[in-house]
């Protein structure tokens, strides 16, 4: 198995895990973290697949994309946390299902 496939497979797995979390986890912080999983998954896939260059050295374009992607994801995550927090202060809810927050597992 080639090296690039290890990274890529890890990325795919991480992405699928993140998808499940974003879909099924109720707590909003879980959702934010799951979305970060998805992002990291894609970055791993980009880096992994960008490492197939036979001319020696990795492809710089996916690296640049990942750097841009990381900054964007950081921005999105910051916004996400701010909204989740404000939503919690305003309603006392930590999910979107209108169920009271579990309290203990915060």
């Amino acid at each position: 198995m080639s090296t690039y496939l290890v990274y890529t497979a890890g990325g795919v797995l991480l992405y699928a895990l993140g998808t499940y979390g974003l879909l099924a986890k109720r707590h909003l912080i879980h959702k934010v973290i799951s979305a970060n999983f998805m992002g990291s998954g894609v970055f791993l896939i980009l880096i992994g697949l960008g490492n197939r260059s036979p001319e020696g050295g990795p492809d710089p374009v996916p690296q640049a994309m990942v750097l841009t992607g990381i900054v964007v994801t950081v921005a999105l995550t910051a916004l996400g946390l701010a909204i989740v927090k404000r939503y919690y202060t305003a309603t006392g809810l930590d999910n979107l299902d209108d169920e009271p927050s579990a309290g203990g597992d915060r």
Partner: protein
């Protein structure tokens, strides 16, 4: 009324499994060797005179992406500022300076971090590094200063901080516009001043990125201690 009760829990699992299968298949279908744009980029970087290819891609070839990326970062900062509940909240929680140990550590670390940030920017054109890395360190230094009481958290959102936040983007816009007056297109740096212009942007960006990270932290402070509901 939660959708968890109504909705079979198996379906999200199936859906994620499907994602795994389809993406996995797509990845495995790829040939094990491919160049992408690696060769073109390397040749282009030689022509542009920037030794670090990734920096060349980020700030030169795809500098437009980076311009918008800076916009994303500043936008997120503005967004979080617009969501802040009580600007004075953090000030109330950090009363006075830190104790002797943290104080001494801060006095040692903060200047060091600022130097490291400067170094990261400087080496960015030839080795891994650059404005984002530098900015992150700078922002961390700022957070350290605030938490240990050397800087006022209420500064976030003030006019001077706003200027620092914006100056990177404004400089980038200015540099992007500058070639247009010479008949070039947006971000088409003149060959002779390419390196110095990029360094100029990088330095101001480092300041703004640091301010962004600090503001993101400060603005999300809770309205009440412990983050509990009033």
């Amino acid at each position: 009324m939660g959708d968890r009760r109504r909705f079979p829990a198996l379906l999200p699992l199936l859906a994620s499994g499907g994602v795994l299968a389809f993406v996995g298949r797509a990845v495995l279908a790829l040939p094990p060797a491919a160049n992408g744009l690696a060769v073109e980029m390397r040749d282009g970087a030689k022509a542009s005179g920037i030794k670090n290819v990734v920096t060349a891609v980020l700030l030169d070839f795809r500098g437009y992406d980076t311009l918008l990326e800076i916009a994303v970062l500043m936008l997120a900062t503005v967004a979080v500022l617009s969501l802040r509940e009580d600007p004075a909240a953090l000030s109330r929680r950090i009363a006075g300076r830190a104790g002797p140990v943290l104080g001494a550590l801060t006095r040692t670390l903060a200047p060091l971090m600022i130097i490291v940030a400067g170094h990261l920017v400087w080496v960015g054109s030839s080795e891994p590094g650059g404005a984002f890395q530098g900015g992150a360190v700078l922002g961390a230094a700022g957070i350290l200063l605030v938490l240990s009481g050397y800087a006022q958290p209420a500064w976030a959102g003030q006019r001077i901080v706003r200027w620092v936040l914006t100056v990177g983007l404004l400089a980038f816009i200015g540099v992007a516009l500058y070639p247009m007056f010479g008949g070039g297109s947006l971000l088409q740096y003149p060959a002779e001043s390419r390196k110095s212009l990029i360094l100029f942007i990088e330095i101001l960006l480092t300041l703004s990125i640091g301010a962004s990270i600090l503001s993101l932290f400060l603005a999300s402070a809770s309205a009440t201690a412990g983050g509990e509901r009033p």
